[in-house]
Amino acid sequence: MSTQFAAKRLSKELSKISSSLPPGIELVSADNFEEWLLDIRVLDNNPLYQNQTYRLKFRFGSSYPIEPPEVVFVKLPDRPIPMHPHIYSNGIICLDLLGQQGWSPVQNVESVCMSLQSMLTGNSKNERPPGDEEFVRGNRLRPKDIEFYYHDNDV
């Protein structure tokens, strides 16, 4: 039943996304209701992200949209991982919106993409999160099982 619920909601979103998306967001593939790929670009002249496109991977659980989707950046030859103090070099994003506490079922793929766009736009630090290397080496957990500390709200 809940699987159906997720599929229905996703099919609604898909039909909306297919017809129109905000600038800088593009749907790459949505062949099923489990995993979608989208590309995002930063639209202003932030030198950190100029002329670059990033690939996002959404994975939806059966209880989406009650529970958040798993969203990570994917590294491809032409799709780097953006430099950001909340984005680990393996693509894992630390954003309260994507955690159990920060998520709300009224969010959707489009709004998540826009949040990430604005998160990059507002950033001026060309750095990775502290402990990045260690984390990337050691982490075997899925992003949703990781407990982040959302300490700083200034970026």
């Binding site: 619920f5 979103e13 159990q100 709300s104 079922p105 502290p130 402990g131 990781i146 300490h151």
Partner: protein, 481 residues
């Protein structure tokens, strides 16, 4: 102390969930009923799923639930003013007891309020399509439940086989069909499918071996071969479309089709036959209806008989004597019996009204008869009245005339008497010219007394006066009567 934003690799210190200010209690009456509504299949039919309904025409964005993105189903408004489907918000609150939009704490027990009816009306008026596959019914959303639950032939209902837990379209759920979920292998493509899917499979998805039509050489699906030969193949033997009407043309289909297009003489006959069949059907239908109405009206008539047993008994005997005797029994029943008799004569003939229309017609006639009777009586009364009036006035007139004539006679008498007196006066005067004026005094007194005597009839006195003056010239001639 880990640095900020560092993931706790081994989930050593899970942050405790924030204590919700108003702990959620999933045992509130409202929520419980709604949860039950959502999770339990109540009856033998598959619950109508509002999220898979297709809406006709655009739906106002404001009527969409922000969680499921479909128009609200049994909506609920939070104290912070946001509206969600009951099912959606309940599911969301299981995770976090806050409003999904503004994160205000929500207590399920206390804080829910129903949506204004105006919004419910808006939702009810949305046009929807029946979600059942194969059904193309369209209606307002408020009527969908009824269509889906009671009328739609495609609504999934519990399989008639008690051991099977699956659902099947209502029209196929017959005990004699048995369980249509048993699997079998397709004859043509070796695919395993259930009987339920069978038609669909053959029509659309079977990619089994095709067969070659021996007549026209075309490749057709094997299971379609029979249909192809009987309906499509241009080389197969066929008969004229109107063979039922008597056309004898039978040849290869394309020849026959040419014949049909060029105008078969039997087409007209066939149309007539069709028309006749239609008429017959209508006649049958009407006869059936008539019979039903007759039955119904005879049922309706029975209580009436019970109500007026005494009328009916007299009418069934049908003798006017009986009618008279009934009339004698009571003055109140008299008119009723009288008026019932013409219409109930008809009722006697066949025992029951043929239809409610006939019954009404009879009632109408009865009332008309009554009216006619009343009108006659009125006329009679009118005539009687005027006759009586005439009689009374005639007598009065006669009396008046008599009185008039009497007065006339009296008048004449008085005039004659007065003249007589005057004459006697003048005679006295002529006689007393020698005796002197004192006699004139006496005569004067006598004259006034005469005038006083007749003063009771004024008209007469004047007449007398005028007569007196006119008769002056005539001298002593006595007045004529």
């Amino acid at each position: 102390m880990p640095p900020p934003n560092t993931p706790e690799g081994g989930v050593t210190a899970p942050t405790s969930p924030p204590a919700s200010p108003t702990p959620s209690q999933p045992t509130s009456p409202l929520t419980r009923s709604e949860i039950a509504e959502l999770s339990l299949p109540k009856s033998s039919i598959l619950e109508l799923d509002y999220q898979s309904i297709e809406y006709i025409g655009p739906v106002d964005e404001t009527l969409l639930c922000p969680i499921c993105r479909t128009p609200f189903h049994s909506p609920i408004t939070t104290p912070c003013g946001h509206t969600f489907c009951a099912g959606c918000i309940n599911r969301a609150l299981e995770l976090q007891s806050v409003c999904p939009i503004d994160r205000q704490p929500i207590n399920k027990t206390r804080d829910y309020c129903r949506l204004p009816l105006i919004v419910k009306d808006q939702l009810d008026r949305l046009k929807v399509k029946c979600p059942n596959k194969g059904c193309d019914h369209e209606c307002l959303r408020e009527h969908l439940e009824g269509h889906y639950g009671r009328r739609c032939e495609f609504t999934p209902v519990r399989c008639p086989e008690s051991s099977c837990t699956k659902y099947i379209a209502r029209r196929d759920a017959k005990a004699e069909n048995g369980c249509l979920h048993q699997e079998f292998t397709c004859r043509f493509c070796e695919k395993v499918l259930t009987w339920e899917e069978c038609d669909d499979h053959y029509d659309y998805s079977c990619n089994g071996a095709t067969a070659r039509c021996e007549e026209c050489g075309k490749q057709v699906m094997r299971h379609r071969l029979g249909k192809h030969l009987s309906q499509d193949c241009p080389e197969a033997e066929a008969r004229c479309k109107w063979h039922a009407a008597g056309c004898k043309v039978a040849d290869k289909r394309r020849v026959v089709q040419e014949h049909e297009h060029s105008g078969c003489t039997f087409e007209v006959i066939s149309r007539l036959i069709d028309q006749r069949a239609e008429d017959r059907e209508m006649i049958n239908d009407l006869t059936g209806r008539l019979a039903r109405l007759e039955a119904a009206s005879s049922r309706r008539r029975r209580p009436r008989e019970r109500r007026e047993p005494h009328n009916e008994s007299s009418l069934i005997n049908g003798s006017p004597l009986n009618l008279l005797s009934t009339e004698a029994t009571g003055a109140s029943n008299l008119t009723r019996n009288d008026d019932m008799s013409p219409s109930s004569g008809f009722a006697d003939d066949d025992g029951a009204w043929a239809s409610p229309e006939d019954y009404m017609l009879a009632q109408f006639e009865r009332i008309e008869g009554q009216l006619e009777g009343i009108r006659k009586k009125m006329m009679e009364m009118d005539a009687h009245q005027s006759l009586g009036l005439l009689q009374t006035t005639a007598r009065v007139n006669e009396q008046l005339a008599e009185l008039g004539s009497k007065v006339g006679v009296l008048n004449m008498h008085t005039t004659w008497l007065m003249n007589m007196q005057r004459q006697s006066h003048t005679q006295q005067r002529t006689a007393s010219t020698s005796t002197g004026p004192p006699s004139a005094g006496i005569s004067h007194a006598g004259d006034t007394s005469t005038t006083r005597a007749v003063s009771s009839e004024t008209g007469v006195r004047y007449q007398a006066g005028s007569r007196r003056s006119s008769s002056d010239g005539r001298g002593e001639h006595p007045p004529r009567l």
